[in-house]
Amino acid sequence: MELSDRELWTVIHGLLAGTLFLLAFAGGLAGLWSLRPGFLTPVAIKERLRRLYIGVWVMAVVSWVTVITGTWIVYPWYRAALAGETYEGCAGAVLPNAESCSPRDFLLSNVSGETEGWHEFGMEWKEHVAWMAPFLATAVAFIVTYYGARLIPRTWMRTIVILMYVGAFAAAVVGGAFGAFINKVAPIV
């Protein structure tokens, strides 16, 4: 059982950070949803808020870690131009390789079926939209910490926070889902 450096970083970027992100999101959303008038006692509010602060800040930090490792560590391996202008380095390949056919080359070469769209649409969207998650998640973490229990009577503010929180999650889902599919079709090795 062995993982190369590249495989290890894709695991950190996608699997570990992604799992933590999902857990933090689920906990945070449940916490935000229950911050309603008449739902909680003062003792329960304090206890619930402690968990909520952890959830929203973990989600914010993890979203930054995910996009930074993805963009600056994993992505250069994905997009390296190794195969030449007509992708001759990918001729006959069944998978990408680190010497002559990067995952991007492999997808654009269509050497293994109609794979071009995975890059042209999937990767191009994922690499940009995922960066919206940390902007939104950090704003949510700040607002939740700033207002605390005051969010309970302020329905409008709580609704805005939930919308932004779900928006951060949706951006991460686009990034995560396309990342998982692309790594299936053209893994970074």
């Binding site: 600056w72 997009r79 960066w131 919206m132 902007f135 704003a139 309970i152 805005i160 932004m164």
Partner: protein, 131 residues
């Protein structure tokens, strides 16, 4: 509405927070955080489209990669983060201790964020590709 009235109104809506002794919080700081996030998203969308439309912009954005092989994505994201951080700091200072109409700020932010989102959508930004 005065701070005292606002706090009183909060307690009337949710009596359970009365015992928590919460100090008043103005909405300016929240509005600043929301608008700054949408500005970051908007800038990312604009740079993504601009990168397609202009070769010189593409080269400038690529120059942010510092030899790491990230390409123009380095510039798009780094510049967006810098603008987001500066916008948040400026708004935090400008809106400190100010009450604002959160609904207005939210709708403006929603429009900016939606435009940013649109700018990052491949079928949209490719329409601006330089020949």
């Amino acid at each position: 509405m005065s701070n005292q009235n606002r706090t009183q109104q909060d307690v009337e809506r949710a009596p359970e927070i009365a015992g928590l002794d919460l100090a008043h919080r103005t909405d300016g700081q929240a509005a600043g955080a929301i608008l700054a996030a949408s500005i970051g998203m908007f800038v990312l969308g604009v740079l993504t489209v601009w990168n397609e439309a202009s070769e010189s912009m593409h080269d400038w954005l690529e120059s942010w990669e510092w030899g790491q092989g990230v390409g123009p994505l380095a510039g798009k994201t780094t510049v967006s983060v810098i603008v987001w951080a500066i916008a948040w700091i400026v708004l935090a200072v400008a809106l400190r201790d100010r009450e604002v109409d959160l609904r207005k700020w939210f709708w403006v932010s929603l429009v900016l964020g939606a435009l940013g989102f649109l700018g990052t959508f491949p079928l949209f930004f490719r329409a601006f590709a330089a020949e």
